[in-house]
């Protein structure tokens, strides 16, 4: 049996199963871990950014408070410290309607602790304005400093803020004017904002609620955040963190943003304005560790998968190898080779299965052995039976031959008695005669007729001998037809039956001659008997058809009735009288013809006659 090729062998299925069992949970857990890690990382980073924004906001707030405090002290000292007063107000009383008087004290480039930060100083009366932007006035002694938000000096292109501190009279009770000092926000806040960096891109930025950048290490002061949605979320009055699909820096990448308001500054600003701190880092950088972790995990996962496949393959081959061997051995047994024992040592169920198979093999071998014995025995019996049948057929052929001769006895007797009578008559003449020359003539006649009788006896005794004593030889069918015709003629009392012979050149046939003669004699005798006492024709024709010698024996007798046609070759079937035959003739004819691989067929019409055709294979050479 040819082993069938499988698209997915057992080994492949096992590896697939191991992969499925190992890989699916691995992938699920990896994905889960990554998602959870990212989510938690986001929370932690958000909280960190919020804290960073808060601390940064506090720092900037504190710095601005320090600057405001400095200005307030300077303004307070304007009436108390003569030196300051001289510098700020001269010796004139401060007119409450004094409009802005610019002065340069302390010298802006020297005295100001923040180099170049202070851009201008003015003093105005309590009612005096400054560039149309009067600080909110208060007549009480507790008037607070004011911060005026960002504005652009179009000449210097600097973003400025102004701190207005109240100036009181000597008694310190009456507000008499304002000290306005203008600062460059960039110079003021950048030293605070810029150093706050984390990672490659992490930084904080200071914006106002209109989205204008006050200080940012990445964006120019005065530029704007245009994403209104993000702006609304980060310019709250409380600290917090949020995520956004953009980073506020013009990139559309995912961001985590921490934010916090500058509470101290905002309370001094006009109510419509507020400042906020903003902590941000490039998401690629934020998630770089997570990504790196993910890649690591992926590699670990792939490695695990590879390991799974390799181990799975190894394991499956450990399992499949003995199964393959089992399959191979089973195929061998199925193919009929039962000689070799089937032994597989795996110490598991496969070994048990192999054991069962081997038991089956042993039982099968025993059964087949028994079966073969039985077949042999039966063959012997059949051969014996066949031999017995052959022997019986042989005996039957002989018996029929003898029986046929029995019906011919008077014909044979006639054939012998006639010459015998002639002999007797001549012998009497010799006995009684005196004429020597006549005696010589009579003796010649006697000799002639004795030879004739001898020939008849020889022919008959040869014919009557059992076929078992004859040899198979190549026989001239015409010779045997002539012998059969001569025998058949013995039963004829006269010449009313015309015998016609049409013999073609035909090959010889392999047979025992006497058996062929028996066949022809039986058929011819039947033909003669069918014509009874009437006139008729018996025609014997031979032809060569497809290297078969074809012998047709036709009579013009009574013909065979339809109901008898099927029984013609049955043993003991006869329509003749008790002395004319046993009903074995045609049965024997068929047996003999079949024995020589021949065919006998019969056509008959009642009242017209019968034609028997015998076909016998011709031997190669004619």
């Amino acid at each position: 049996m040819q082993p069938k090729r499988h698209r997915f062998g057992l080994s492949g299925k096992l590896v697939l199963a191991i992969l499925a069992v190992g890989a699916v949970p691995l992938m699920i857990s990896l994905s889960g871990a990554y998602y959870r890690g990212s989510s938690e990382l986001q929370d932690v980073i958000g909280a960190n950014f919020q804290a960073l924004a808060e601390s940064s906001a506090g720092m900037v707030d504190a710095e601005l408070q320090r600057v405001i405090a400095t200005d307030r002290i300077l303004a307070r000292d304007a009436n108390k410290d003569p030196k300051v007063r001289t510098k700020l107000l001269g010796n004139q009383p401060l007119d409450k309607n004094l409009s802005a008087v610019r002065f340069d004290w302390p010298p802006i480039t020297e005295a100001e602790p923040v180099m170049g930060t202070l851009k201008a100083s003015w003093v105005t009366g309590s009612e005096g304005g400054l560039d149309g932007a009067k600080p909110a006035t208060s007549s009480t002694r507790n008037a607070t400093a004011k911060v005026t938000g960002l504005y652009l000096n179009s000449t210097t292109q600097q973003h400025l803020l102004r701190i207005s501190a109240p100036i009181y009279d000597k008694g310190g009770l009456l507000l008499i004017g304002w000290l306005h000092r203008e600062y460059d926000v960039k110079k003021l806040f950048d030293p605070l904002i810029y150093p706050i960096r984390f990672g490659g891109t992490g930084h904080v930025m200071l914006i106002n609620n209109a989205g204008m950048i006050i200080s940012c290490p990445m964006l120019a002061t005065g530029s704007r955040i245009v994403v209104q949605d993000l702006l609304a979320r980060v310019t709250n009055d409380h600290a917090g963190w949020t995520t956004a699909e953009n980073d506020g820096h013009g990139s559309q990448t995912f961001s985590i943003i921490g934010y916090a308001p500058l509470a101290g500054v905002n309370s001094l600003l006009s109510p419509s304005e507020s400042w906020h701190m903003f902590a941000w880092q490039d998401s690629r950088e934020i998630f770089a560790p997570a990504k790196s972790l993910l890649i690591g995990l992926l590699f670990a996962g792939l490695f695990s998968l590879g390991l799974l496949v390799a181990l799975g393959y190894y394991a499956s081959s450990r399992i499949v190898k003995p199964i393959r061997r089992l399959h191979h051995e089973a195929s061998r047994i199925a193919g009929g080779d039962l000689s070799q024992p089937l032994v597989i040592h795996t110490g598991d169920e496969i070994e048990e299965l192999a054991g069962e198979f081997d038991q089956m093999r042993i039982q099968l071998r025993q059964h087949i052995g028994t079966l073969e014995d039985k077949v042999e025995e039966r063959t012997r019996e059949l051969r014996k039976n066949q031999a017995e049948k052959d022997r019986v057929t042989e005996q039957l052929i002989q018996a029929e031959k003898v029986a046929a001769i029995g019906t011919m006895v008077s014909g044979i007797g006639h054939e012998i008695n006639n010459p015998l009578y002639v002999i007797m008559g001549r012998a009497e003449a010799i006995r009684d005669g005196k004429d020597i020359s006549a005696c010589n003539e009579y003796a010649g006649d006697i000799l002639k007729h004795t030879k004739h009788i001898s020939a008849i006896v020889k022919n008959l005794s040869g014919y009557i001998r059992p076929a078992s004593q004859h040899e198979l030889e190549t026989v001239d069918v015409h010779e045997k037809l002539a012998d059969a015709l001569a025998m058949a003629k013995l039963s004829l009392l006269d010449d009313r039956i015309e015998i016609r012979q049409n013999f073609a050149l035909v090959p010889k046939v392999a047979a025992k001659p006497e058996e062929l003669q028996q066949v022809f004699f039986n058929v011819i005798r039947n033909g003669i008997q069918a014509m009874g006492k009437k006139k008729g024709v018996l025609e014997v024709t031979t032809t060569l058809e497809d290297n078969q010698v074809c012998i047709r024996i036709r009579d013009t007798g009574a013909g065979i009735r339809t109901e008898h046609l099927g029984k013609i070759f049955d043993p003991f079937f006869t329509t003749k009288g008790p002395d004319e035959g046993e009903g074995l003739g045609m049965y024997i004819v068929q047996q003999i013809v079949n024995k020589y691989d021949g065919i006998i067929t019969l056509e008959s019409e009642v009242g017209k006659g019968t034609t028997v055709t015998i076909r016998l294979p011709g031997v190669k050479s004619i």
């Binding site: 006895v409 008077s410 007797g413 008695n417 009578y421 008559g425 009497e428 009684d432 006269d494």
Partner: protein, 134 residues
């Protein structure tokens, strides 16, 4: 006294044998080579000239069975002796029923043949007493 015997047999050798056996017995032999010729001869000649018929069975044209039947029917007063090679009891019985005088199976000895013919002839003479005398 001479008696005329009609021998009907197709074989010359047999007829010659009969001639040899009847030689010197005073029996005159006339021969016919088959049944048909025998009938013709008997019908043509004066029946009174034949005293007995010696007839074979197996012959061409008209065989012995038919010829004998004719003889017995047409010339019942002439005794018929069948001389044949067939040692066939059934055939013998058939002929006896026809009224043949004897059924002789060849080979038959000279004495036996002569005796049988003589006996038949004497019977004819006795039975057919009203017939013409030789």
């Amino acid at each position: 006294m001479s008696h005329k015997i009609l021998v009907v047999d197709d074989e010359e050798e047999v007829r010659k044998t009969i001639r040899l056996q009847l030689k010197g017995t005073g029996l005159e032999v006339v021969e016919a080579e088959d049944g048909k010729r025998g009938i013709e001869m008997l019908d043509a000649e004066n029946v009174t000239l034949v005293d007995a018929i010696l007839c074979d069975v197996r012959m061409p044209n008209i065989n012995g069975v038919e010829a004998v039947a004719y003889f017995r029917r047409e010339y019942p007063h002439i005794p018929v002796i069948v001389l044949t090679g067939y040692p066939d009891v059934k055939l013998a019985v058939e002929f006896m029923k026809e009224g043949v005088t004897e059924y002789l199976v060849k080979p038959v000895e000279k004495e036996k043949l002569v005796e049988t013919i003589m006996k038949a002839v004497s019977q004819r003479t006795r039975v057919g007493g009203d017939g013409p005398k030789m």
